[in-house]
Symmetry: C2
Subunit: 386 residues, 2 copies
Amino acid sequence: MKGEPYLFLPGPTPVPERVCRAMNRPMINHRGDEFKDILEDVVAGIKQIYRTRANVLIYPASGTGGLEAAVVNFISPGDQVLAVSIGVFGDRFAMIASNFGAVVEKMDFSWGTGADPQKIKERLAQDTDHQIKAVLITQNETSTGAYNDVKAVREAMGDHPALLMVDAVSGLAAIELRMDEWKLDVVISGSQKAFMIPPGLSFMAFSDRAYQVHKSNTNTSYYWNVDQGMEYQLKGQTPFTPPISLYFGLHEALQMMAEEGLDNVIARHTAYRDLVRASLRALGLKLLTEDRYASAAVTSVIAPPEIGANQIRKYMFDQFNIILAGGQQSLDNVVFRVGHLGYIRELDLLSVLAALEITLLHFKFPLELGTGLKIAQKAIFDMHQQ
Amino acid sequence: MKGEPYLFLPGPTPVPERVCRAMNRPMINHRGDEFKDILEDVVAGIKQIYRTRANVLIYPASGTGGLEAAVVNFISPGDQVLAVSIGVFGDRFAMIASNFGAVVEKMDFSWGTGADPQKIKERLAQDTDHQIKAVLITQNETSTGAYNDVKAVREAMGDHPALLMVDAVSGLAAIELRMDEWKLDVVISGSQKAFMIPPGLSFMAFSDRAYQVHKSNTNTSYYWNVDQGMEYQLKGQTPFTPPISLYFGLHEALQMMAEEGLDNVIARHTAYRDLVRASLRALGLKLLTEDRYASAAVTSVIAPPEIGANQIRKYMFDQFNIILAGGQQSLDNVVFRVGHLGYIRELDLLSVLAALEITLLHFKFPLELGTGLKIAQKAIFDMHQQ
C-alpha cells in the first residue's frame, strides 16, 4: 500500500490537518468585518514570528514575488547594490535587482558555505561615499542547505547606511531571526515553508528607515506598492482580492505556532537538523555543508557518485512514496535534499532515514541497516528525557 | 510538536485522505439515482471482499449491530446454539444470542488461543438429533489478538446442519476469508477496521441456506429484518435513512482496495503481523498469542509487569501522540494491543516500534535502542526486494 506521500521538501511542506480543515470552508467577503478580523490577527501573528513592530504586508504571491516587492519598493534604478550570494536564491535576488535597474555587484561564496561577514565589512569600508544603497542577502539558501549569519552580517555593516534586505523565505521560523533587535530593514518570507500552509502568500516586513528610502523611490510599481498596501491594511483590507482560503489556513497555522511557542519551534528545527546530520554521517554519507553553516530547514546530502542522487530519489518515491528534493543547477544528481522544516513529526524523520538506508543498501552501498536510524532514535529518546 | 495522532488501534483505524475527501461533500437524496448507483457499487465491492455471491446487507450500525442482526434473523427463541468463544467478542456474540432466547452452550478456549476444531467436531458428533441450530464463532478476537481457523471449523462441522455464523468484524480483509468456498452461512463485518472508513456501518452476508432457516424464524425484528433489507436493496435503496457520508467513504475505500488487490491487502496484513511480532520479540517482550493463532489485525503484547501496560500507553500518548489499545477485562494493564490493520503505511510501523523502545528504556526496561527497529527495517527491505 502506497498511501499518502511523505513530503520531505524544503517547501511546500506538509500541511497539518488542522490547517486543511480551516481552509476547507466557503468564501467570505474580503471587504467585510470577518476578513478584517482575520487580517488583523494574522498581521499581528506574523510580526511575532518576525520579532518586529515594523510594518508587515501580505502579498498574494510566491516568495519570489516578495523579493520583487522588496526590490521595487526600496531600490531605485541606478542604485548600487551589493548582492551576497551563496547559491541559487542569492543569485535570483541579485537578478531581480538587476532587472529593475540596480547596478548590482555580486559577492559570491562557494555553494555550501555561508557568507563571510568580514568580506562584507571590508567591501563596505571601501565605499566611503556610500554609493551602495542596499545589501541583499539570503538567510537560508534552500539550494544548498547553508545559512547566513544575518546578525553577524548586520554587525559587519556597522554604520554604513545601506539597507539590509533579507530573503528569509525558507528560513523564517526555522532559523532564529530578530528583525528589530538585529536592525534588519526588509525581510521577506513565504507561506509554504515553516508557516505550514500551501504556497501563495509572501510576507514582507520593512523598517521605518526602509520606508524613508521608499519615499524617494523611482521604480514603477503597482501590485507591490507598499503605500497602497499600508493604506488598505489600515482599513482591514488588502488592495487586491486576497487568496482567502490561504488566510484561513494562515490564521490556524499561526495559532498552532503560538501554542508551541516560537522558541520551541526554532529549537525543534535545530534538533531535527542535528538529528538528521548525525544519522546521515553515521551511514558514511557526506554532507554538502559544514556544521557551522548547516541549515535547520534542509540538509543537502552528497549522493554516492556510483548511485547518483536522482536514482536514490526515484527509488524512494517509487517504493516508499517519499518525496525528496533534487540538486539544482550544478548540483543536479550530485546531491539530494531532505527538507525537515514545518509540519514534520519527529517520528517521521525515522521513516525517511530508514527508507534511505534501505534504498542505499538496495543499490549496494555498504552499510548495516539501522546504523543511522539508531542514532536518530537515540536523539529522540534524549529529547524526551529533558 | 505533537501533530496528528498515530492511531494504532484495532479499530477505528486511520482513515485515508482520499476517503476523508470523498466523505467531505454535501448530502444527496437517498431515494435518488445517485445513491442507487453508489449502493449497487458498494454491495458489489463488499461481495468481492467476502468472496461471495450471497446476499449482503449494509446496516447503519456498529459491528455489534451486525451481530444482533445475525441473531434475530437466523436464530429463533429456544434454538440450541453452540457459541465458541476465545475472548470478549466471542462472549458478546453468545450473550446476544442468549438475550434473544437462544439456549446457548458456551465452548470456551483460553484467551490468547484459537478454538480447537476437533473439540467442535466431537461436540457436534454427540448432537445426533441435530438440536444445535447454529455455531457462533469469532474470526478475529480483537481482545486477545488470536484468530480462529474458520475454514477448519467449517470442515470440522462436516454434515451437521447447524448454520455457521462468523463474527468477522475485525478480521475481514485482514485475514483470509472465503465465504462461498468455505460454505459459511452468515458473516458479519464492520466499517472501521480493514475497510478503512469511520465506524457506523456493519455488513452482513448470508447464504441461501441461512435464508431458508430465516423463513421460519420466530424472533421479532424490524430494524434488522433481512426481508425488508433485500426488498429495498432491489430498488437501490435502504429501508431507513443511510449514513450517506459513510457510503461515500466506503465507495472510495473499496476502490482503493480494488486498486491494491484483495490478495495484496491480505498479504500486507500478514507481513505487518510477522514484522511486528519479530521486532517485539527481539526486544525480549512476550506476546499473548502463539504464532499459530496470531492475528494479522492486532498484536497483544504482555507488558513488563514492573512497568504495566497502561503506563506504557500513557507515555506513548503523552510523548508521541501514539494511541494503542489497552487490555480488556482480565487483561487490563497486563497487555497493550498494537493494531496494524487498515490504512497503516509500512514505515509508520517503524514509528510505533521506535517509540515503544524509547518508552521501555525510559522505564528502565533493559534494552538497546534499535534492536527491534532493525528487525522491522530489515523486513521492509526484504519486502521491497521481492
